[in-house]
Amino acid sequence: MSEVLLTVDDLRVTFPTRTGEIEAVRGVSFTLGRERLGIVGESGSGKSQTGRAIMGLTPRHAKITAKTLNFAGRDLLKISDKERRDIRGKRIGMVLQDPKYSLNPVMTIGRQIIETLRTHERVSTSEAKARTLAMLEAVQIRDPERVFSLYPHEVSGGMGQRVMIAMMLICGPELLIADEPTSALDVTVQLEVLGILDKLVAERGMGLIFVSHDLRLVSSFCDRVLVMYAGRVVEELPSADLSKAQHPYTQGLLNCLPVIGSDRHPLPVLDRQKEWAL
Amino acid sequence: MSAPPLQIGDNLKPYSRDWLLSEQPTSRHQARLGRAYVIWRRFSANRLALAGLGIIVLLVLVAIFADVLAPHNPVQGDLMNARLLAPGTSGYLLGTDDQGRDILSRLIHGSRLTLFVVVLVAIIAAPVGLIIGTVSGYAGGWVDAVLMRITDIFLAFPKLVLALALVAALGPGIENAVLAIAVTSWPPYARIARAETMTFRNSEFISAVKLMGASPFRIVFRHVMPLCLSSLIVRVTLDMAGIILTAAGLGFLGLGAQPPLPEWGAMIASGRRFILDQWWVAAMPGAAILIVSLGFNLLGDGLRDALDPKEAGQ
């Protein structure tokens, strides 16, 4: 681990509801350099909220606290809204789950990508367009000119997710948070999109936080894995050492993975125990 | 403490709060009451909705006890001593009109006419819309196509103008006004009932009833219609305000209730001549219309939010 990009210490995200407060994230800590970190957990484990809290995209009524939430020397909890916006899209990008919903349906793809660029950099119209086309090419879109003027509904899911990646990487951020970026895609397309993501992250030397429910995918793609359960990190380990996982929950997740050629009867059921959530 | 001879479910006192909110109701009766209680809790948490309910309850009470409440005769005035008295004159809280009639008494008696119109329109239009909508939605095919085309034609009509033309042909009068408003009110109900019917037309429980040999008639009337009721009630309540306003508009144009009936819209029309100097003659009935239709709107909003929390958000 070279320089430290992001330091998270004791991050908590609390939602007030009518029946009392709900802590979605309860004391998550980790540091991240220019590496790939996977965050795995079942739905409701707080993995997505962790990513969103770093971006400052938690709903307004929620409460975020942390001992440290530091990105490249800046305290993310103390900076103004303006500084926050300057970081978003420019220094931290975020890819959301389903391009069907995360792209604005009434704007052309080209305009949406250009919008990111021109929010953060003063560039001429022609340069903006040229860079957008180059970016579309970088996410391996064969006919960038055509895709540039299409609307999101006119492209496939895989293509849409590439557009989303292009939109978030055009300003060259140092960190990318990918929130279940392939869960909404067909299995065959998943690998393509992951390949593109992999290549770009490697080429540009970015840090990556890869949020997913798919332990196998994360372990094959990331350097390190955080396993979350009920708002807490229950285990942190290098992907290579996954088989040595200590925590019963992680072992349970691993056991759920089917192995080709073996008979799985009865199907294993994930064991959840109340004391893990404490 | 001696245990009661018959234990209900998980030892809850019948009709207590916990009994109503029980996750495992032991009887249909308990489940139904529990659901009603949950809806009531959501409804009563909304202060504006409660205010709306209060206004409507008050309106009904005033209409029932009009004879007792009204201090003066609503039709016969004191032409000699009490013409166009200002509000607050002794004995005339809201003043008097050009014929020496107490405005408050007229408003109190007018509440009966307002309720009459609203209830009658609802009784005529809602069942018509419900039947057309459920039949259309359940039958599908050309029946649906024809019925919905007719509905759309009526929906395409501007309501007030159609009502005006109808009353013009039928002749002025409160019964004809009711009829005209009812004719213009049913199409949205048919649309709602049809949409609701479509959502569960192919559901398992309808198939089950069908397998048991129920006739289409029975399915529509016994199984489909009750399920459409809650959204229909919300819509009807929300429409009440519009009905009151249309009725008042017809009355104002002299096409609704005829003098000397104390209809609020007609009262505004007769007060129009004195609006510059005796503003209260026209202002008071208008305020009554505003309050009552506001009450229906608040009640309708509250009902919608309570019955359909998805829509309400928060």
């Binding site: 300057d86 009434v106 | 009526f154 005006l164 306003l245 002299g254 202002a283 009935p285 208008g286 219309i289």
Partner: protein, 355 residues
């Protein structure tokens, strides 16, 4: 290879063409049946509901020979379906009979008064949209706040108040007491003879002819009824805008736009509102159509010489031809606006365009 390719393409094109053709056919059928339905309903009201339609048209004070002539003109001795056929033919050629009150053809009367109504409804809609949309956006963004409550109350009162009553009170306050606006009517009597309107839309004419004093006078006449209709349209538009915006602000693309580093202002007014605008166009069109109807009562209060006043005057004089003619025209405009808003919706939403 190429052969199969081309056949596939032609097949696809043909299928697309036929589905497009089907859509057009369906559209035409809808429009035609709706207009036929409109005529059928007015025919029913005019010929079937009254005991003696001829009497209903000329009024019961008319001399016997007039009644007889009208009965013959209407073909009341013919079977009903033939009468309807004649009625449709006449309506399509713009013949709604003669007004008993003005003795002009009803169509000529309507052509004369309708621009005044259009002018009033347009002003009302402009006011309603210009204020209602921002209010709705504000309420959605600051949901649950004091501002949201205020917008809600403004809307609720707009839904609940009798328009003619509010108009009367406004006249008392702004004309009689404060003298800020002109008396009921459309134009001051002084200008009635010096000003020659060309299009029937007086405000536009006055501005076009650079007659500023006339324009000011017209403005002082239209502002109160126009503002009143604007309030009604505002109540509806702000409420719908709020609900559309709440829906849009929950969408994932808003999160994505924030992740891009856009300002809230841009996200709200550009991204979310642009999406909400798609259904909003329909709402604004519907409110415009609603104002044409609302003008009936408003024009009566403000002596505004438009179609609404024409209809109520005719009602008062039992002039059935004029009433039904006015009903048909308002109904037809209503339907047309509905159709246009539907078409506009399609052009605004890229998703409804086929590739």
């Amino acid at each position: 290879m190429t052969l199969t390719d081309t056949t596939a393409v032609t097949r696809r094109t043909r299928r697309r063409a036929s589905s497009f053709g089907m859509a057009v056919v369906r559209f035409v059928v809808t429009v035609v049946t709706t207009f036929l339905g409109l005529l059928a309903v007015t025919f029913f009201i005019g010929r079937v509901v009254p005991i003696d339609p001829a009497l209903a048209i000329v009024g019961d004070r008319a001399p016997a020979h007039v009644v007889e002539r009208v009965r013959e003109e209407l073909g009341l001795n013919l079977p009903l379906y033939q009468q309807f056929w004649i009625y449709i033919k006449q309506a399509l050629s713009g013949d709604f009979g003669t007004s008993v009150l003005t003795t002009n053809p009803v169509m000529a009367d309507i052509a004369r008064v309708f621009p005044a109504t259009i002018e009033l409804a347009t002003i009302g809609t402009i006011i309603g949209a210009l204020i209602g949309v921002p209010l709705g956006v504000l309420a959605a963004v600051k949901r649950g706040s004091f501002a949201d409550q205020i917008v809600r109350v403004i809307g609720l009162i707009g839904y609940s108040v009798p328009i003619f009553w509010l108009g009367l009170l406004a006249l008392v306050l702004f004309y009689a007491k404060l003298n800020w606006v002109a008396y009921p009517g459309r134009i001051d009597i002084v200008y009635e003879y010096t000003f020659t309107p060309v299009t029937g839309f007086y405000l536009l004419d006055a501005i076009w002819q650079a007659q500023w004093d006339v324009a000011l006078d017209l403005f002082r006449h239209i502002i109160l009824p126009g503002g009143l209709l604007g309030y009604f349209s505002l109540a509806y538009i702000s409420r719908m805008t709020r609900s559309f915006m709440l829906n849009e602000l929950q969408q994932e693309y808003v999160v994505a736009a924030r992740a891009k580093g856009l300002s809230e202002t841009r996200i709200i007014w550009f991204h979310a509102l642009r999406n909400a605008a798609v259904p909003l166009v329909t709402v604004i069109a519907l409110s415009y159509a609603g104002l044409l109807e609302g003008s009936v009562l408003t024009e009566t209060i403000f002596s505004w010489p438009g179609l609404g006043l024409y209809i109520t005057n005719s009602l008062q004089n039992a002039d059935m031809n004029a009433v039904l003619g006015g009903t048909i025209v308002i109904g037809a405009v209503f339907i047309t606006i509905n159709i246009l808003s539907d078409l506009l919706y399609r052009t605004l939403d890229p998703r409804t365009k086929s590739r």
